[in-house]
Symmetry: C2
Subunit: 253 residues, 2 copies
């Protein structure tokens, strides 16, 4: 049984807590955070504390706080023997001020109140010490079948790629919603398409799955679309992405 | 039993054929196309013909060809009594040169070889004549629980919205793949995230689901991301979409 202290009470902390609660191989023995209200929701299944000088002795300390606060929180763990990790995609491992340090980054978007199955979620681990890496690997395997050793440089690029496929994609969903609403149409109409677009690249490469006027070089349809747009940013976006798609497919010819 | 002739042998024609084959309320009695090789795959379950002057008499003629060819194909149906529809998002109803005309547009992306459940796919119908609209509605309901009356102007906007959430989103998936490959990482790492991003907006509005550095106004993280990008188009895209997200959330404050 691998013992854990979770530092942080936000969305990611809650999802990790839920995932570990459902396994036999690991246990969160304490949750530490500043805010007693946020802590209270963990109290049924774990000890809680808002005193950073009274942190339990465990195998793994997971810091699940904003990137800016990782260094400060790690400062409370200088005398601990266990491995100290953060759970961030963008922060370097060196933002932790402890020698026995590492990273435990689940590559997923976590929504308040929506329980996720961690089995397929990639957990990217990194550690300064070999033994700690082995421990983190075993810990990750208690909740996921998809554990990857990823160094800090790779992880930063992965996080950047995640911004494109998650944050930016979600923004495009919002543009779709706006265009629907302008015509009094429900955004629900686009939902099956959005789901299928994501499902098809589970087995098809994005380049193989690409369709649409820009891919076909259909200038007439693109001009018609531009004529329908009123919002300046939407016009810029349409133009830039269509150009990028056209370039990508011209290169191939 | 509503009888159908399908004109066209492409991807959309195949998916419609499959969907109607699985219902009792409608039947494709003939598939008409130029190419005998493409037609042959329909021959086990329907009559086929490459002679556009020998088209059967049925209730509904579905033209499932490229937008440019809709007018020409409809010209072979001038003397038919049934309703003539096309299945395109972008073409106006008036591209059909027959009086009893309409549109039967399934709003989805169709992949060669991947059978889709039509039940939840929105089918957007439109017709010049009231009785024909009722017939198209009944036809659509044989394969889908999501039948919508949408006029040509609305449909064109819907098609434009679909370009944003499908074509452009898929392009962003491709950027994610490229960034992974630059670091020797598998694109598979992003697949659970891509799926969850699409799944969460099935019940959450895109604006509620938005996360990331641009949403937070985190200029430090955005600059770090820009420093990691080498490709000029990717830099432009990152900048433009981040600006758009920032503007959208500043407006709200």
């Amino acid at each position: 049984m691998i013992t854990i202290v979770l530092l942080g009470t936000g969305n990611l902390a809650k999802h990790l807590f839920e995932a570990f609660s459902a396994t036999d191989g690991a246990q969160v023995v304490q949750v530490v955070g500043r805010n007693m209200d946020s802590l209270s929701r963990f109290s049924k299944m774990s000890a809680i504390s808002n005193d950073f000088s009274a942190i339990a002795d465990v195998d793994v300390y997971i810091i699940a706080v904003n990137d800016d606060a990782i260094g400060e929180v790690s400062g409370y763990l200088l005398n601990k023997k266990g491995v100290v990790v953060h759970a961030s995609g963008a922060a370097g491992m060196d933002s932790i001020k402890v020698k026995n340090r590492g990273v435990f980054y689940p590559l997923q978007t976590f929504t308040e109140g929506k329980t996720l199955d961690f089995t397929s979620i990639p957990i990217c681990i990194e550690a300064e010490q070999y033994e700690s890496k082995q421990l983190l690997k075993r810990l990750a395997e208690t909740i996921s079948d998809n554990v990857q050793e990823i160094d800090s440089n790779q992880r930063k690029k992965l996080h950047l790629a995640a911004v494109f496929v998650n944050n930016f994609t979600n923004y495009l969903y919002g543009v779709g919603e706006e265009i629907c609403w302008e015509e009094g149409l429900s955004f629900d109409l686009l939902k099956p398409l959005i789901l299928e677009t994501a499902e098809k690249i589970q087995f098809l490469r994005p380049k193989e799955a690409q369709t649409g006027p820009a891919k076909r070089g259909d200038k007439h349809s693109m001009q018609q679309h531009l004529n329908l747009l009123r919002d300046k940013k939407q016009i810029e976006l349409y133009t830039l992405i269509s150009e990028a798609i056209q370039q990508a497919y011209e290169k191939k010819l």
